[in-house]
């Protein structure tokens, strides 16, 4: 039997302090969808194997379908919807390289690419492949994703120079 005890958590979501009433069984994906109408992190495989639900918690990407919402209390969370008024270099590169078809996986790939380029601003193709191996794309846009990551790295380096 499920009862529905409520818990209130507070955290920073895409730069803004927020609070939410949650149920103990909610995942981070449930939290974002149920309380904030954010659908960019998507449950697909439900096992943390496809990367469609990638969300950044305290600077590190996690599988939102496995990460309990209760753990978000006190954390800083960034989703694909962060700062959407202006596209960043990674998003622009994904468009220019044609790095998506149906796009169900795209927020996950963009999230991981952003994280990769912070730690490794000039990744090799091998670096890119190994870093993104936890994200799946059923449309098979991997060659274009690799090109997009390289393009984004170039854009970011050019912006710094």
């Amino acid at each position: 039997m499920l009862d529905t005890p409520q818990q209130t958590i507070e955290f920073t979501l895409n730069g803004k302090p927020v609070s939410a009433q949650i149920q103990p069984q909610w995942t981070l994906v449930d939290l974002l969808q149920n309380a904030f109408d954010l659908y960019g992190a998507r449950q697909s495989c439900g096992q943390g194997l496809c990367g469609c639900c990638s969300v950044v918690v305290d600077g590190k990407a996690v599988s939102g379908c496995l990460y309990l919402a209760a753990f978000a209390d006190g954390s800083t969370i960034e989703t694909i919807e962060n700062g959407e008024e202006e596209l960043d270099a990674v998003q622009e590169a994904f468009i220019e390289a044609g790095a998506f078809q149906c796009s169900f996986c795209t927020p996950g790939f963009i999230t991981m690419t952003r994280q990769l380029l912070v730690s490794n601003p000039d990744p090799s193709v091998d670096d890119i492949k190994h870093y993104l191996t936890g994200n799946l794309c059923r449309c098979g846009t991997y060659p274009q994703i690799i090109a997009a990551v390289q393009m984004a790295a170039g854009k970011l380096q050019a912006a710094k120079a």
Binding site: G46, C102, F104
Partner: protein, 760 residues
């Protein structure tokens, strides 16, 4: 062919919805919530074949938070005849009387909280009287256990099968071309016979199947991730006994389809659930459940060829047995359509093809990116190389002696026209450097290369209709029922309209499928949409343009004048408001249905799709592990509307086919799928991708919109056989069953060395 220089067609514009896609804001039914919505969870059969003795839902229904629970008997209250299907009316909305596969939907629990609905499912009790199951397509031929008591054709063309009993053959397709094939074998210099098998695999789009059914004051609205909205409206209204106008179906973007979201999937059960609960109901599958929804056909393919002393194939006989699973879905059409080209892109005087769609107690099989053709190409392109090897002829040279030429008659009786079969074959060989020496490697890792070519007819007859509205602001709206599931149809249709109307593509809106709004379309399937809907959009835009010109004449504006469009409307309507509306309907001309006994027709398809893949592989002789190093995809794509999108379709299709060649296989234990998860069912990841080169040959299709033709499936055709041919080239063993795992290759190598491994 259009002589003028195109401005918008032929340009690689980014997808028009690109911004929403990279910001995660794109609309999917996956995201849809409605007020007072319930979540429906499906209780499924745990046995493969049995009579339902008792289903007790009382404990589940009594659980706090549960709104209601329904079974097949409840469905009858809103759908008197609960059986549906695009070819046969054989599939119950929820099981009644019998269950026919492990995973078959038996009951639905509805609750406002999906976790409550899920939890309540465990309180349902079902009791069955087990019947003998039949799992294998060859066993199904002779089994005394029948999946269905009698055949129930729904499609009028299958009427001759009505009431047939005591068989697991759902549909028998046959083709007879030329003279008697057995007599021709007698005359042949050599006769070769081989058998091939393919495995059941899964589409697994990353957006799992999902439908929201919303009862309204006038009927019902189905918000659904589906590739054939008009069929959904037709079939659900038939089940309900309502006029079609009461069943509205709307479809935004899909998170992948690949054939899995065709015809009815969750729509009928969601509709029944919502009407019984009197509230909106959302049913969305878990990834695991997608493996029970629809699969790619496993198949057994027997192929026999007679060759004369010049290396010319003079006779070919193909027996294809499709494991269709428990319900027909589109399976009979796969047997039919793929059966047409089971002999391959070869010019063979005498051909006999029997292609049987078999019922078994496995999850239903349907169309998966290629409509059965990847399975056929697997067989005939392995077979072709095996014959060439036996005859000591180079496989390219052997193909050259037998390949269809432009204008030659195919086994269907239809001549090959505007199809670059020879050019595609030559190009893939050239790109592979076939006639140059190749280093097969030293030591324990050997290298090999191979190629394969396939052909497919388009889906015919089929219909697309479109509306193009041109407003007083100069903007146009394309109103069309094609579903954009990632293939870029919105972008292509906008480019076609922009081209005809000579306006920027940014000034074209595209309305998504909504059966209350968008005119009829057969469905987004079989690579048909660009050709059919593209033509309908072109015709509708031309009609709108003609109507604007007529309006200009009416209000005294000279053609080519610089009077702005708003002023044209202002002169007519007193204010700068209004529209001209063009319509277009496209059904390919002069389709001739095939003769039932022989499959012969002088016009069986509006166009042919041709694709070849060449690969280089590396095989570790100590483990049997195969690594694909390079994949070259060549295709006759017509003149692409958007070259980049076309190239990436080819590439993506080949990657999907790579997975289905190397790793993807649904494993079964007593009918239960034992690897229904990405943990155990491995689709390609970024680490599995070889170097890929794509060559969409701009061959031009005179009847296509601006010379274009469909391409969504073409990249899948040759991949599997090309890899098998390359493995043979590398280590001398022939794999005849998919997938090509390290174990299969290693076992074959040990067997070839007269040192076979023991079976497990």
């Amino acid at each position: 062919m259009n002589e003028h220089v195109t401005q918008h067609v032929g340009q690689s514009y980014p997808r028009r919805e690109a911004r929403e896609k990279v910001t995660g804001r794109i609309e999917y039914i996956h995201n849809l919530r409605l007020p007072n919505m319930l979540y429906g969870k499906i209780f499924r059969s745990t046995i493969a074949h049995g009579r339902i003795v008792r289903i007790d839902v009382s404990a589940a229904a009594a659980m706090p938070g549960v709104d209601c629970v329904i079974t097949g008997e409840d469905v009858r209250k809103v759908m008197p005849d609960v059986y549906y299907g695009v070819m046969f009316h054989d599939q119950p909305v929820l099981a009644v009387d019998k269950v026919r596969f492990v995973g078959e939907p038996v009951a639905i629990v509805m609750a406002a909280d999906p976790n409550v609905a899920h939890e309540a499912m465990s309180l349902i009790e079902a009791e069955y009287e087990e019947l003998d199951p039949v799992f294998d397509e060859m066993e199904a031929l002779s089994a005394r256990s029948f999946v269905h008591d009698e055949l129930k054709p729904g499609n009028p063309q299958l009427g001759f099968l009505a009431g047939v009993r005591d068989t697991n053959v759902g549909f028998p397709y046959q083709l007879r071309h030329g003279g008697d094939v057995d007599e021709a074998f007698e005359k042949a210099d050599r006769v070769f016979e081989h058998m091939f098998r393919t495995q059941a695999s899964a589409h697994v789009p990353l957006e799992p199947h999902v439908t929201v059914a919303e009862p309204t004051s006038t009927g019902i609205t189905l918000h659904t991730a589906n590739q054939s909205p008009h069929f959904v409206s037709f079939e659900v209204s038939r089940l309900l006994g309502w006029p079609q106008s009461k069943v509205r179906v709307r479809v935004p973007y899909l998170g992948g389809g690949f054939g899995s979201k065709l015809w009815l999937k969750l729509e009928a059960m969601a509709a029944a659930a919502a009407l019984l609960a009197k509230k909106p109901v959302k049913i969305s599958l878990f990834m695991e459940e997608q493996f029970y929804m629809i699969t790619k056909h496993a198949a057994t393919l027997q192929i026999k060829s007679g060759v004369d002393k010049d290396g010319k194939i003079i006779a070919r006989k193909c027996n294809v047995f499709w494991n269709g699973g428990a319900y027909a879905d589109i399976g009979p059409a796969v047997a039919f359509h793929a059966g047409m080209t089971a002999a391959g892109p070869y010019d063979i005087e005498n051909v006999a093809i029997d292609s049987l769609s078999m019922y078994t107690n496995r999850p239903t099989a349907g169309a998966l990116r290629g409509f059965g053709h990847p399975q056929l190409v697997w067989a005939y392109e392995n077979h072709t190389n095996m014959i060439a090897e036996e005859l000591g002829i180079d496989p390219l040279e052997f193909r050259r002696r037998n390949i269809l030429h432009e204008g030659s008659e195919t086994a269907t009786g239809t001549k090959l026209t505007n199809s670059a079969v020879e050019q595609v074959l030559e190009r893939v060989a050239e790109k592979l450097g076939w006639e140059k020496p190749f280093d097969h490697g030293e030591g324990t890792v050997k290298r090999g290369r191979g190629f394969a070519i396939g052909i497919k007819a388009s889906i015919s007859p089929s219909t697309s209709e479109a509306i193009v509205r041109l407003g007083s602001d100069g903007c146009a709206t394309v109103i069309a029922g094609t579903v954009d599931m990632g293939q870029g149809s919105d972008t292509a249709n906008a480019q076609i309209a922009a081209e005809v109307l000579n306006i920027p593509v940014e000034m074209v809106n595209v309305v998504h499928p909504d059966t209350h709004v968008t005119p009829y379309d057969t469905g987004t399937l079989g690579s048909r949409s660009l050709y059919h809907m593209g033509n309908a959009v072109r015709l509708a835009a031309e009609d709108a343009k003609a109507k604007l010109e007529a309006l200009m004449a009416e209000v005294g504006v000279q053609p080519g004048s610089n009077v702005p469009i708003w002023e044209v409307f202002a002169r007519k309507n007193g204010m700068p408001v209004g529209n001209v509306t063009g319509t277009g309907s496209f059904v390919p001309a002069d389709h001739i249905p095939p003769e039932p006994m022989t499959g012969q027709s002088s016009n069986i398809t509006p166009y042919w799709m041709v694709g070849a893949t060449g690969v280089e592989v590396e095989v570790d002789t100590e483990t049997g592990h195969v690594r694909v190093l390079k994949m070259i995809n060549v295709a006759d794509t017509g003149n692409p509307i958007n070259p980049k999108i076309v190239e990436f379709q080819l590439s993506g299709a080949s990657i999907m086919a790579l997975g289905q060649t190397m790793t993807e296989k649904m494993n079964f234990d007593s009918g239960q799928v034992t690897n229904a998860s990405f943990a155990d069912y491995k689709i390609p990841s970024i680490l599995d991708i070889p170097e890929i080169e794509n060559d969409p040959m701009d061959c031009g299709e005179p009847d296509g919109p601006f010379g274009a033709k469909g391409v969504g499936e073409t990249g899948t055709f040759g991949v599997a056989a090309a890899i098998a041919n390359a493995v043979k080239d590398a280590v001398g063993v022939r794999v005849t069953e998919l997938p090509i795992t390290a174990e299969t290759v290693y076992r074959a190598m040990r067997a070839a060395a007269n040192d076979p491994l023991e079976e497990e």
